[in-house]
């Protein structure tokens, strides 16, 4: 019995998952904020702000506020991660000075299905969205066939970044 179980596990584990890192943070900065000098924004979220971000977005995954940059134009560049089917999905969002989504890039995606979340035509749905939009799958954001979980979590993640802008970055 044990030999049989071991054989099956070894056969299964002999297939190695290959990580797909499409862009580094630096490459994303260069592509999404060309010719702009970015400086890191020093932010420390308090528990109440974190709770509000979670309530507005539904995302429980901890938000790392140390990955926020600002350009001299007032635009922001933010890197975040959400839960994928098996691993985290890392993505970058740039915001206009008024807090509207300027651009999104998926930096890391390591799932069997749904790499379409990287497609510009899907990501472009988010452009211009602000914290006032719901960013709800099936409402103002269309999901991706075969990648419902990934597209839902990215939409919620962008919603969280917009909540972060509203609660923290937009405050005087």
């Amino acid at each position: 019995m044990l030999r049989h179980l071991l054989f099956l596990c070894l056969v299964g584990l002999s297939f190695h998952a290959s990580a797909v890192d499409y862009m580094t943070e630096e490459q994303a900065q260069a592509a999404m904020m060309p010719n702009l000098v970015l400086s890191k924004v020093a932010v420390k979220l308090d528990p109440a702000q974190r709770n509000q971000m979670e309530d507005r977005s539904g995302v429980h995954e901890p938000f790392d506020e140390h990955r926020v940059w600002k350009a001299s134009t007032g635009q922001y560049f933010i890197v975040d991660e959400v839960v994928g089917k098996h691993e985290k999905i890392k993505y970058a969002v740039s915001l206009e000075a008024n807090g509207a989504v300027k651009q999104i890039e998926v930096l890391t995606y390591r799932e069997s299905y749904g790499s379409e979340v990287r497609r510009p035509e899907w990501l472009s749905q988010f452009f211009g969205k602000t914290s006032k939009d719901t960013l709800k799958l099936g409402a103002d954001i269309q999901g991706i066939s075969g990648a419902t979980l990934s597209s839902k979590h990215i939409a919620q993640g962008v919603k969280r970044i917009l909540a972060f802008y509203d609660l923290v970055l937009a405050q005087p």
Binding site: M1, H4, L5, L8, C9, V11, G12, L13, F15, H16, A17, S18, V20, V59, H60, E61, V82, V83, K85, H86, E87, K88, R110, E111, S112, Y113, G114, L137, G138, G143, S145, G146, A147, T148, L149, K152, H153
Partner: protein, 293 residues
């Protein structure tokens, strides 16, 4: 033997084709997470019933499956089901028997029974009515007809799923009915069962999930649910690894000493609160491997 080698070759070939929807973190519980439209997956399942009240007993039921996503809400699979049984003096009365054994009148009732055979082919259809990621909960219906030289079976399920905490925590329950006809060397058996399985699985780090699952099993005589024979409980842990290329799930269920027998025949198969006979063992193990291609 040739038949067995052929099956192993088929399994290895399918592995070589190079895993994920139909992917479940549970050993026995189905979820409403289906193979997407246009996607295919090869899956191998090995289910082991091990140990009865005494003697030696192990019964492996293997399935080689090809799964297709017809639409995002309709998944179809085809199975080849084969088994291996090895039993010796394992019955409550010291005779050889148990699930998967089929002794004829000329066999020594106290001898060893060992057999590898292809049992059946089956087809599984799952239709999803509600998506656990976008609706308030997941709901799917399942139907699996199975046919072989000595067996015919119809299995149906109602699959319910609810996710929490960024879909890291999956709670699922299945209501399963089975109606079977099995022709043995000495008798023809017609039976039905009604199972309630439920459990939870939590993804504690990237790729890895673990949880618990439980099964309440009720067995009936004939094709209906009028004549109940026994009720038994099984409980145990599961662990799941899933990645871009493949997934593996392993689970164990232990028969809890809470059985109820509803006839003298059934009560005769109960030892220390657990039932054995032609249906059950002390422990059940499941290993599943899935590879999308």
């Amino acid at each position: 033997m040739l038949q067995f080698r052929g099956l192993v070759s088929l399994g290895l070939f399918a592995f070589a084709l190079s895993a994920q929807a139909g992917e479940s973190p549970f050993g026995w519980i189905y979820t409403a997470d289906l193979t997407p439209k246009g996607a295919r997956e090869y899956e191998h399942k090995s289910f082991l019933q091990n140990g009865q009240s005494k003697g030696e007993y192990s019964y492996w039921k293997h399935a080689e499956e090809i799964e297709f996503g017809v639409t995002d809400n309709l998944q179809v699979s085809f199975y080849l089901n084969w088994s291996q049984v090895n039993a010796s003096k394992n019955g409550v009365n010291g005779e050889t028997g148990g699930p998967g054994t089929d002794l004829s009148a000329s066999d020594n009732p106290f001898g060893r029974f060992r057999q590898t055979r292809v049992d059946t082919v089956s087809s599984e259809i799952i239709y999803r009515l509600m998506n656990p990621y976008t609706d308030s909960f997941g709901l799917a219906l399942y139907l699996e007809p199975e046919i072989g030289p000595k067996e015919r079976e119809l299995e149906w399920r109602v699959i319910l799923q609810k996710n929490y905490i960024d879909d890291r925590l999956t709670l699922a329950t299945n209501i399963t009915g089975v109606h079977e006809r099995e022709e043995g060397a000495m008798e023809l058996e017609k039976a039905s069962m009604l199972d309630l399985t439920f459990g939870g699985s939590y993804r504690f780090i990237n790729n890895w999930s673990a949880g618990l699952e439980a099964r309440n099993h009720q067995e009936f005589l004939g094709y209906g649910y009028q004549s109940k024979e026994h009720s038994a409980w099984f409980l145990g842990p599961n662990i799941h690894y899933g990645s871009q290329k493949f997934w593996v799930t392993a689970a164990w269920r232990h028969q809890m000493p809470w059985v109820k027998g509803y006839s003298q025949d059934q009560r005769d198969e109960i030892v220390s609160g657990r039932i054995y006979g032609d249906e059950h063992a002390r422990n059940e193990f499941m290993v599943k491997v899935g590879v999308p291609f």
